[in-house]
């Protein structure tokens, strides 16, 4: 009798815990929480206005995390009473969230594909977006270089552990493009791409996870945005020559359903302004409007 009762209780507990665990793992909300510096950091009390009256919700690609956090602080400082909330995630995740009804004022993607899809879904008006920065890819190595990688060709050495982002996120697609381009370099050889892909040990779900795995020294090398390498300074970088590199365009747009259109357009203007562009450049992006 007691055993039955206890087991039923246990089963109930377990059903609860399994669900709880699942939630931390797979839900979008948790995803936002794990990869993002807490928004509280940038929701600082504004010195000129103790009670913020307006909140601006910005959805931005994971690779923009550091740059946009700084831009948020700058925007709040020049717009008293405004609070900027960020949701950083892979561009694909952001778009899905918006498609499923998430309300935000601004979205900034790491590629054109997601912007085009957002326009097709009427999330963004066709003429309402602009590129504000570009980014390129770079190779990163952990501190101490455990895989003794000294040049690009070494990525093809058997047994090396390489991590890139999953092909479903822009950073993963760009990394694959770069590897295809590098195969055209006679110095690397035509089988370079397939040799490197054989060294792939993980397709991380966003580019920041790639940085973390390399920072921890779990992988010997990773391919990430040049801006990510700036954000993690203890990493060793091997630059990818321009002729084999990609130019990742970052489009920003005000969402059609934005509840604060005026404030949103002020934010977009700030990003395109000399001070906004200077911040982008500081974090390793190439500004579109030269500051």
């Amino acid at each position: 009798m007691t055993i039955n009762k206890s087991l039923v209780l246990l089963a109930l507990q377990i059903v609860f815990f399994v669900n709880a665990c699942e939630a931390t793992g797979t839900s979008l909300v948790a995803k936002q929480g794990t990869n993002v510096v807490p928004t509280a950091v940038i929701q600082r009390d504004n010195p000129t206005n103790i009670n913020p009256t307006q909140t601006l919700n910005v959805f931005a690609a994971a690779s923009l995390t550091d740059a946009f956090m700084t831009i948020g602080i700058g925007f709040e400082a020049t717009h008293p009473g405004v609070k900027v909330n960020f949701n950083f995630a892979g561009s694909q995740i952001l778009r899905t969230q918006l498609e499923q009804g998430a309300v935000a004022d601004i979205v900034a993607f790491a590629d054109q594909k997601n912007m085009d899809a957002s326009i097709a879904d009427n999330l963004v008006a066709a003429d309402e977006y602009q590129d504000f920065a570009t980014n390129s890819m770079t190779i990163i190595l952990p501190p101490g270089n455990p895989g003794t990688v000294s040049n690009i060709k070494d990525l093809a050495r058997p047994g090396l552990k390489l991590v890139v982002a999953d092909a479903s996120v822009p950073a993963g697609e760009y990394a694959r493009q770069v590897l295809t381009n590098l195969s055209k370099d006679p110095a690397n050889g035509p089988d370079f791409n397939s040799k490197v892909m054989a060294n792939l040990v993980s397709n991380e779900t966003d580019v920041r996870q790639v940085v973390t795995k390399v920072e921890l020294g779990e992988a010997d090398a990773g391919i990430v945005y040049a801006s990510d390498a700036i954000a993690a300074q203890e990493l060793i970088t091997i630059p990818i020559p321009d002729q084999f590199n990609v130019v990742a365009h970052y489009p920003i747009a005000i969402l059609s359903h934005s509840p604060n259109r005026n404030l949103a357009s002020a934010f977009v203007e700030y990003v395109a302004s000399p001070s906004g562009q200077a911040i982008m450049s500081e974090w390793g992006f190439t500004p579109v409007h030269k500051p």
């Binding site: 089963a11 377990i14 059903v15 665990c21 794990t34 479903s168 397709n203 795995k213 921890l216 779990e218």
Partner: protein, 269 residues
Amino acid sequence: MKPHRLFARNRNHDMPGWEFILPSLALMSLIGLPILALVWRSVNIDILSFAISESAVNALKLSLITSTISVLISLITGTPLAYIQAHWKFRGRAFIDLLVDLPVVLPPSVAGIALLMAFGRQGTIGAWLDSFGISIPFTTTAVVMAQVFVSAPFLVRSARIGFAAIDLQLEEAAKVEGASNWHVFRHIMLPLAARALVTGVILCWTRALGEFGATLLFAGNLEGKTQTMPLAIYVGFEQGLGIALVLSLILLAVSLILLTLVRSLESHG
């Protein structure tokens, strides 16, 4: 309709009022509606073509293999541990109880980071293993380790309750007859706790099948090697709903079957 009509078969002839029923309905809808919606949305898509896609099959295979290995490891190591916990009083038992229960309440992401800190290439033990050329992260072994970490406690808890419920007089009688500890365990305790053990195995298996957070952090995500079903669902979700929905349906069905099994085990006998 009045509540007593709905609950007319309650043998105490005592019915819950609306103040009990309404909040319960609210919670049940919160859990039930998303599940229904998941099934509903999957009706329109070409389930079969997604289900037999290579990445879905690979994920399914890997999930089945790793979770089965995890359950076997949990059973072999967890049963003796549960027996010790249920059977002997000693200093530090409270600590063992706490340690074993910890993964149940710990977020899986914490488990993943903890595993990396210990068994990562620069981890406490991982660095030492690395000097022998053994590297655990990004391998199927890492998937199994993550699963055992989060799921074994479910088996241990269940087994512990099973062992603790056995009448001590049985053991004393056996000892008088000259049975050793092993004999008592093998021929008396195991058969009597069998149902609790089976329940534990099923719950452990369900949890191992669903493991996501620790796997992603510790084992990474590579098709055929470390990409289990929950990871394939997550990545699939980024690529388009189809494959994510189909894999979710499969996991939902498996979970329902396993939970039903647990319930029937509990109600019979």
